[in-house]
């Protein structure tokens, strides 16, 4: 899943609108920050005396205090200093277009796939109308889509989702629709889980590098902290129990209460598929510390390598583990390329979490007409199987091309078997092996090579030089263009 990026444009090609709006927006932000610094510190609101003349009061202007927002809201509107968002902004100022803007910045910073749009488009044009407007009498009955329905999602949708998830995960595990709550995307799914499993000030352990959006999804409103558990290239960035143990103990010494472990599998940004052993180890660790496990499996259907994907749901069933500590999030944004539809899942083995999440869905539920489309879509077994096979194949092909292209330039990638991106080791291009060096390279990539790739620092990676490059929105002909630009940049750096 991904969080909405500030000021993100609609789609490529509309950069013009944002050139005009970006610069004044930046100026406005800085002006606000400047003014905020100059304002006197907050105190109890001073009250103005009553006046008999209302129009006098309303025109007094300067003597009325400026009304303020809450302290938790204040950081939200600030421009982000994360390279993840900065990169996305920069693309909007000059987005690459194969025909109209061949010198523009190529977007490799967004994990989304357009590889199978043709299949989806065809399905939609053949089925959309029917799936929304259908009714038992053959005539359109608006009450089937207009009226209040359970916020946790129609039962038919939960059934369809359960079946779909089972299928895309290789049919080795089944999901019970009554443990499932449908959310308006992956973003609310993770936030609601954070609200249910941890109090304000508690923390989740999270292996690094991790998806930058979690910083907002989890911290914005819940007040839950994220404690990084550093992973290294020597393990292909796979989390170890000793690292978990260390992070847990350090947290305890600081007085931080750890409520759970959050990780993505397939991982983002590395693209690792966690082995059964690793999953067991994580679960046993959680059992020992009596904490929760949240497995973000949003890329489960985007597995293209040879390694088998195993869901935490499967592992939870084995052994003497208390299943109720296991929770899974999923969404259709990545595997089915429909982030705009906003459809995600919280799947929990804990009855009270399911009940609380159901009630919280009134704040983030999926519109009924969209649910009806999804019921049709997810239940169309033949379509889904064809789609998934093609989707995997196309990612695999694109992955091979992309990685090979970089290899030719002496730029290796981490081993990956899932996701819509690869984890690229550009340390050989760093002028200094440090975060500073990495950010300098990030800037060169943007301004010289005109490529937006997400630097490891944005993902809290402990080793400098790694970049996430998303390749599933690229056409085959875009790849040589990218490699050519990379080659030129590499040559200029290495000389």
């Amino acid at each position: 899943m991904r969080l909405i990026v500030p000021l993100r444009g609609v789609i490529q090609g509309r950069g013009g609108l944002f050139v005009g709006s970006l610069i004044p927006c930046c100026l406005f932000y800085f002006l606000q920050l400047y003014l905020k610094g100059r304002r006197p510190p907050p105190s109890d609101p001073t009250e103005l005396p009553r006046t008999s003349s209302r129009s006098n009061l309303f025109s007094r202007g300067n003597s009325i205090g400026r009304v303020r927002v809450s302290s938790r809201a204040a950081p939200v509107a600030k421009p982000s200093d994360s390279p993840y968002y900065i990169g996305l902004e920069r693309v909007k100022t000059d987005p690459y277009d194969r025909i109209l803007n061949t010198n523009g910045i190529i977007q490799l910073g967004l994990a989304e796939s357009t590889l199978c749009f043709d299949l989806l488009q065809r399905w939609m044009s053949e089925n959309l109308m029917e799936s929304i407007m259908q009714s038992d009498h053959g005539e359109f009955d608006i009450s089937s889509i207009a009226m209040y329905k359970p916020f946790e999602g129609l039962l038919e949708l939960r059934v369809a989702f359960a079946d779909f998830m089972s299928r895309i995960m290789g049919g080795k595990v089944s999901f019970d629709p009554s443990n499932m709550v449908i959310t308006a995307g992956g973003t609310p799914a993770i936030e609601v889980l954070a609200f249910c499993l941890a109090d304000h000030g508690n923390a989740f352990l999270i292996p690094t590098p991790y998806y930058p959006g979690f910083e907002r999804d989890i911290k914005f409103r819940t007040g839950v902290e994220l404690i990084p558990v550093h992973c290294r290239s020597s393990d292909n960035f796979t989390v170890t129990v000793s690292a978990l143990e260390q992070a847990f103990n350090q947290a305890r010494k600081r007085g931080s209460k750890v409520s759970g472990i959050l990780f993505s599998n397939p991982s983002n940004p590395v693209g690792n598929i966690l082995s059964r052993e690793t999953l067991h180890a994580i679960l046993e660790f959680a059992q020992e510390k009596n904490i929760h496990v949240i497995s973000d499996e949003i890329f489960a259907g985007s597995v293209y390598g040879d390694k088998e994907f195993v869901s935490m749901a499967e592992i939870a069933d084995s052994g003497e583990i208390d299943k109720s500590r296991v929770h899974i999030i999923y969404a259709l944004s990545k595997d089915l390329s429909i982030p705009g539809f906003r459809a995600g899942v919280i799947y929990s083995f804990h009855e009270d979490v399911v009940n609380a999440a159901k009630k919280l869905m009134r704040f983030s539920s999926v519109s009924v007409p969209v649910q009806r489309i999804l019921i049709s879509l997810l239940s169309d077994v033949k379509f889904i199987e064809d789609y998934m096979t093609t989707h995997r194949q196309r990612i695999r092909n694109k992955h091979i091309r992309f990685v090979e292209g970089l290899k030719q330039l002496g730029i290796p990638c981490a081993e990956s078997g899932g996701g819509l991106y690869c984890w690229v080791d550009m340390s050989s291009l760093l002028t200094s092996y440090s975060e500073k060096g990495e950010l300098e390279l990030f800037e060169k990539l943007l301004s010289v090579a005109k490529i937006n790739a997400t630097p490891g620092t944005a993902c809290f990676c402990i080793e400098p030089g790694w970049f996430r490059c998303c390749f599933t929105a690229l056409a085959d002909e875009d790849i040589p263009v990218i490699m050519d630009r990379m080659r030129q940049l590499a040559e200029s750096i290495r000389s």
Binding site: L128, M129, I142, N290, D322
Partner: protein
């Protein structure tokens, strides 16, 4: 800042293997309120729902404010305009592609423009709405919660006039940690908000060391079914300026005012004010759930005159986005001025007639209602039937109405009404026949009581 930490936990989960894993305070809290009578009646309905043909003696749901009176208008329009899926299908290839990927929290421009235009029409053009100040949320419930997160910190308070929509206890407080301090209103002046009541509520908060961040009103009011007078709105804004706090006006029933001229939106008041420091404390919540009868679509909006709030709300709306598909589906319908004008007009008329039917019917049974002019419900006074004018007395009567008359109505106590014996009765979520049956049951009940 922050929620107070729990002193003693029942288990130290860091060491003990045998303990069940803990959940958060939010998860175990009962602030969701689903154990209150407001919701208990719904359970009774779920177990024995009225059906004209199959279960004519079942419970009639009069506790749900849903608008079904104008469904036919929507159906006809959609069938006419959407025969080949041109509006709701994806005949145009580019349409789907954009929808599928589009998850920009700004929302579709065409849809925001359509919402702005619709909101202007409802107000008879007496206020303008800038589409760039519209932030979309998945329903008004989400809009109210989002605004609360933005305007108040945990343990701060919003002042809310009573009686108020029971859902506010959950929507404004549950995850936000914000408190509600009631502004007490009573029948002596038709439950209108007075400056004295405002001052008193503010003082109550201050005495308890609670920081007040804003006032939140519903206009037209739920559960009163009446519009807020212009003078009251002006007094409210005046109060908010003097205390330097926010004013949130939830106007989700604005299109359900029986006579358009009787509704004054806070937007109209603000329209004539140039001073930003006054305007920027005003925020409006709207939704298509009540006026357009589309609660299933989950479309809500925050309209704010405060740039910072707009920006912040937009970013936070990531947790509650409206599907691009839904926006696409509604944009053309809401921009169709001919249709919306006709819809708004006919919808108002039908609601007015329903209201008159129920109020007349109740009057014949000897029951008075508050003089209302809006909404999907009436505010009925059964105080004279109470043995004891207490909360228990009211709940006893409510229980009798639920069990004997098989009518689920909402007791005033669940709306925090300070006078006992008032009930909210919804009339727009059923056919005219069903309404007649409900009235008949009430008549019979009153007849029986008179005999004693």
């Amino acid at each position: 800042m922050g929620l107070p930490l729990m002193i003693e936990r029942s288990s130290n989960n860091n060491n003990n293997n045998n303990n069940v894993v803990e959940l958060s305070r939010v998860a175990v809290s009962d602030t969701h309120g689903e154990d209150s009578p407001y919701f208990a009646g719904w359970k009774a309905y779920d177990e024995n729902p009225y059906d004209e043909t199959h279960n004519p003696s079942g419970v009639i749901q009069m506790g749900l404010a849903e608008n079904q009176v104008s469904f036919d208008l929507l159906e006809t329009y959609l069938e006419k305009k959407n025969p080949e899926g041109s509006m709701w299908g994806s005949k145009g290839a580019p349409g789907f592609r954009e929808n599928a990927l589009f998850q920009d929290y700004h929302g579709l421009k065409t849809f925001r423009q359509a919402m702005a235009s619709f909101m202007e029409q409802i107000r008879g053009g007496k206020a303008r709405f800038d589409p760039d100040r519209i932030v979309l949320t998945a329903g008004a419930t989400a809009a109210n919660e989002l605004l609360t997160f933005i305007l108040a910190d945990p343990n701060d308070a919003l002042l809310v006039p009573t009686p108020y929509y029971p859902g506010f206890d959950r929507d404004l407080r549950w995850r936000t940690g914000v408190k509600i301090v009631p502004i007490h209103c009573d029948s002596s002046n038709n439950f209108q908000i007075t400056p004295e009541a405002l001052e008193s509520a503010y003082q109550t908060a201050r005495d308890a060391n609670i920081r007040v961040r804003g006032v939140l009103i519903t206009n037209p009011s739920n559960p009163l079914g009446a519009t807020v007078q212009k003078k009251v709105l002006e007094d409210l804004l005046d109060f908010c300026v003097r205390k330097n706090i926010h004013l949130v006006s939830d106007e989700i029933y604005s299109g359900s005012v029986f006579h358009a001229s009787e509704f004054t939106s806070v937007a109209e008041i603000v329209e004539n004010i140039d001073d930003v420091s006054v305007k920027e404390r005003v925020h409006i919540v709207y939704s298509l759930s009540k006026d357009l009868g589309l609660p299933g679509f989950r479309v809500g909006t925050i309209y704010s005159y405060n740039d910072n709030v707009v920006r912040t709300a937009r970013r936070m709306s990531s947790f509650t986005l409206v599907s691009s598909q839904t926006q696409h589906m509604l944009a053309s319908m809401l921009s169709d001025v001919e249709f919306t004008e006709k819809y708004i007009r006919i919808n108002r008329e039908r609601l007015r007639r329903r209201y008159e039917t129920i109020v007349e019917g109740l009057k014949k049974a000897g029951i008075e209602c508050l003089k209302g002019n809006a909404g999907l419900f009436c505010w009925m006074n059964l105080g004279f039937l109470l043995e004891k004018k207490t909360k228990d007395g009211e709940l006893q009567l409510w229980d009798v109405i639920l069990k004997e008359l098989k009518l689920n109505i909402s007791p005033g106590t669940s709306c925090h009404c300070s006078e006992f014996g008032w009930f909210r009765v919804c009339f727009a979520n059923m056919s005219e026949n069903t309404l007649e049956i409900a009235l008949k049951r009430i008549h019979e009940f009153m007849d029986r009581r008179r005999k004693f």
